[in-house]
């Protein structure tokens, strides 16, 4: 029995599209919900990030619940950065009773990178042991083996970085995540289709659905910054040039052209795509109109 639309579509072999909501720094969430509603015919589920970039914000759990109330399907992102094993397990129980079924488990960025750099980095569990804890909860037990009064049901996912070096290290961890209960993967942003194709060949054996990651380029500077600083991201020179050559008023058009080219290029290699608009939520609909799926 499939417990979410996302799981059902993947099981039926249909191509899946997920997008992402980054909750605001504050309580002004309504514009984000509205943007999500605009594209609901085209998007299967919305990831809600968990204090992305280690910046203190509105939480993922509450935002996921608001999406459900508005008839939209969330993917609850949960990281190991801010909570110990008691709080993580408790939040998974909370997520379940609030109707959340898709959960994406991540390690999380280090606290030093965010807006509270002096905070204590927790990392009590890691992405593998948190997946395992979630699997335990699905079996009616906590991670110490204590019986639960009412268990959870989740469609568990994890992340992988296809262009990370050394890739073997990612693959070993991916295998561990699968053993710990991950049933689908969303990837880091992909800009190099050849590298993505090589990666897909390597992971074919695992038989888990992969949703290729798409990040909309906003400027040439952003591309260069990511190449220097973001792990597993390599924006090719031709895309940087396209963004640099575009007039300011044409940047969105060029950015969407690049993204649609990438989606069209990867759609036959993987089981879906995951769009990370990073604030450009309002262009996701237009992008999806441009691609042939």
């Amino acid at each position: 029995m499939e417990i979410s639309n996302l799981q059902k579509k993947l099981k039926e072999g249909k191509f899946v599209i997920t997008s992402e909501i980054g909750p605001p720094k504050g309580t002004n969430i309504q514009p984000h919900i509205k943007e999500a509603q605009h594209i609901k015919e085209k998007v299967d589920a919305y990831n809600v990030t968990d204090l992305q970039s280690s910046v203190m914000r509105l939480g993922s759990l509450a935002t996921c619940f608001l999406l459900i109330q508005n008839g939209l399907e969330p993917v609850f992102q949960i990281t190991c950065r801010d909570r110990n094993r008691l709080a993580l397990q408790s939040d998974l129980l909370s997520a379940y009773v609030l109707g959340i079924r898709n959960v994406l488990v991540l390690t999380g960025d280090h606290t030093i990178l965010g807006d509270h750099p002096s905070a204590k980095p927790v990392f009590d569990l890691d992405s593998v042991s948190l997946l395992k804890a979630a699997s335990d909860l699905m079996n009616g037990k906590d991670m110490m083996g204590n019986q639960l009064d009412g268990k959870v049901e989740f469609f568990l996912g994890a992340v992988v970085s296809p262009c990370y070096e050394p890739i073997e290290l990612q693959l070993i961890k991916m295998e561990k995540k699968i053993s710990a209960g991950a049933k689908f993967f969303q990837t880091q942003a992909v800009y190099d289709l050849k590298a993505f194709e090589n990666f897909m060949k390597k992971v074919e054996q695992y038989k888990v659905p992969i949703l290729g990651g798409i990040v909309l380029l906003k400027t040439a500077g952003m591309a260069k910054y990511m190449n220097e600083n973001v792990a597993g991201v390599n924006v090719p020179e031709k895309y940087i040039k396209m963004m640099a050559d575009a007039k300011k008023e044409d940047r969105v058009k060029v950015s969407l052209k690049i993204a649609s080219e990438l989606i069209n290029g990867m759609k036959d290699m993987c089981q879906g795509i995951h769009i990370m608009p990073l604030g450009w939520d309002k262009y996701v609909g237009e992008l999806l109109d441009m691609v042939k799926i």
Partner: protein, 224 residues
Amino acid sequence: MIYSELKNIDEILKILKENEISLIICNGCAEACKVSDEKSIKEIELKLKENGKNIIGKLKIDFLCSKNLIVRKVSRNIEILNNSSALLVFSCGIGVQCVSDIIDKPSYPATNTIYLGGFQGLWLGKERCAECGTCYLGITGGICPITFCTKELVNGPCGGAKNGKCEIDKEKDCGWVLIYEKLKKIGKLEILKEYQNPRNYKLLEPSSQLRKKVYYDIDKNEEL
């Protein structure tokens, strides 16, 4: 002083798959806390032999935290080391890391280094021991994931390293990339696939027994 305790023999045998073994024994703190005194070594030797292990050699070094002393001893005993397929190290976590850094053989800790509440002596080399009480060095190629990984991860890296450097500092090596390279070099990469349980933070509260046994020894001696 850095305080360590012997792992039990089952724990040692779980990581020590090789049969041709040399023992590398620290004659410093480890000797003082009786994990590397003659009696302990004899007992472990016996148990290793019972389990089909061949002890090729025993190298006793005054302080394993001194790489100079290790190099000197190693250069005089190259043959013994060449004939060994793995090393079992009786020292704190720093000694194991130093041995592993100098000798390209799988080096396994025979001990767990125990938390004493903070002070662990002076150490100015790159190796660090967090005294976590669950020595991981045997499964990580002798490089400590607790002190070398900024997030203290035990099941492999996060996705944050770029060009082998940590996401928080471009000049800081990613501990897990170092571990990967070392395990690959010594042909032990498959160890990385094993699931590691979450850490036991209970071990970061020294027991009252330990407080009595270790903390106050010095005070008492001074009084005498």
